[in-house]
């Protein structure tokens, strides 16, 4: 298996990195290119940019952000939020992104996953799954999508998804640890790589998630501080996690 991955996640709205509580009271915390490049220098294995506004206008800005990031960052990155068609996804990849992430649009029309995979290749298609108590939620986790999480993961794989990005809504921001039970069930249910998200409070949580998943998404644990990624990598190494030597 490839090395376990650490993936800082940057929430973007209107071309800026923002921070907010449950998608409300968004506060500008920086430039996506500067922060992305700083994370890359700090040893990030990949980056994820999620457009949390995800309006019609923001699709153009997602392409612009991808184009700017690609100029300054030479590690892989994923763009998500507001991608609803193959054309939306192709534009983001042409700008220099490596993968797109789809969530609500795939729940509304699962065939979209197959259309994306056939055109762009499975490796470029991440399906983001927001989950609470074993059930899938959609629309920034505000609606119950009336699906079982493990069943939906299997369906995503059957449609041609390349990776799953699984966020436990009930753990998100709590710093109480990843939902290892769910991640273990997903490891057994699908043979796709899984990116664990939601609940990281310390290095031991991340290490535990990397035992059952291939990557960990890092959001609130980093607080937009690349220096925290450097110390986290050191702590993980001392816990015996074999990370990439980024030099």
């Amino acid at each position: 298996m490839p090395l376990p991955r650490l993936i800082p996640c940057l929430d973007v709205a209107g071309g800026r990195v923002v921070k907010g509580v449950r998608f409300r009271e968004l506060r500008d915390v920086g430039d996506p290119v500067e922060l992305g490049a700083a994370y890359s220098d700090a040893g990030a294995d990949e980056l994820v940019f999620l457009d949390v506004a995800a309006t019609v206008e923001s699709r153009g800005s997602a392409v612009e952000v991808a184009a700017r990031v690609a100029e300054h960052v030479s590690i892989p990155f994923t763009v998500g939020g507001g991608i609803r068609t193959v054309a939306d996804a192709a534009a983001v990849l042409e700008a220099g992104a490596d993968k797109v992430s789809v969530n609500s649009a795939a729940l509304a029309r699962p065939e979209l996953i197959g259309e994306l995979a056939r055109t762009l290749g499975s490796q470029a298609v991440v399906v983001a799954i927001d989950t609470e108590a074993g059930r899938v939620h959609s629309h920034s986790a505000t609606r119950d999508a009336e699906r079982d999480t493990v069943e939906w993961a299997r369906e995503c794989e059957a449609h041609g998804a390349g990776e799953l990005l699984v966020t436990s809504i009930d753990r998100d921001g709590t710093q109480s640890g990843y939902d290892l039970e769910l991640l273990g069930a997903l490891r057994d249910a699908v043979s796709l790589p899984v990116i664990a998200s939601g609940g990281a409070g310390g290095a031991e949580h991340v290490a535990a998630a990397l035992e059952v998943s291939q990557a960990a998404l890092l959001a609130s644990i980093l607080h937009e501080r690349p220096s925290r990624l450097v110390s986290l990598r050191d702590e993980l190494r001392s816990l015996g996690v074999h990370l990439r030597d980024a030099a």
């Binding site: 298996m1 490839p2 690609a70 030479s74 220099g96 290749g121 490796q123 990776e163 291939q214």
Partner: protein
């Protein structure tokens, strides 16, 4: 200055490759005509997507013959990811696809624990980690480096093929591309 032509045929992350070479100071063109591909010191065959549509994209633009002509003339070409796979005789993908035949061998479906195989993985013999994202891999006698047992680098005459993405492999990838430039 070394000139680089990146084949633009509807199946590659041309911009990422272009930016990576620009960072190294090379003169880069995105090439969709045989003349542009033939002129450059180094031709790049990038590739993302599926083998059949990639081959169709090359044929439509006459780039398949241009790449064969380069190989016959011993001029440097670098195939990246799918660009390596379609340089072989054939691929299992899309129910069987005939490749460019620049290098003897075939691309087969990966038999790995998780497919697609996505992530950073060391390439042996030297152990440097590069970025991989693939569901097929080469089977060929021209392999010169491997990663977890899968073919990672292929060298045959003036053709070099890599299964990983040097343009997305940070500092290690930049060093790899620099070596390709200096040899071209």
């Amino acid at each position: 200055m070394t000139t680089v032509a990146i084949c633009r045929y509807g199946a590659g992350n041309v911009r990422s490759v272009e930016l990576a070479f620009r960072r190294l100071g090379a003169a880069v063109v995105a090439a969709d005509s045989p003349a542009d591909v033939l002129d450059a010191d180094l031709a790049i065959l990038p590739g993302v997507g599926s083998a059949a549509s990639a081959m169709a994209g090359l044929r439509e633009r006459g780039l398949d013959d241009a790449l064969r002509e380069r190989a016959d003339a011993g001029r440097a070409t670098l195939g990246i990811c799918l660009g390596l796979q379609i340089a072989l005789d054939e691929s299992e993908e899309d129910g069987g696809t005939t490749g460019l035949g620049l290098v003897p061998g075939r691309a087969v479906r990966l038999e790995a624990e998780r497919v697609p195989r996505i992530g950073w993985a060391p390439v042996e013999p030297d152990g440097t980690a590069y970025w991989f994202a693939h569901s097929y891999a080469a089977e060929t006698d021209a392999a010169t480096a491997t990663s977890e047992g899968f073919v990672a680098v292929v060298e045959d005459g003036a053709f070099t093929g890599v299964q990983f993405h040097p343009e997305k492999s940070g500092a290690a990838g930049a060093r790899f591309l620099e070596r390709c430039l200096s040899r071209a």
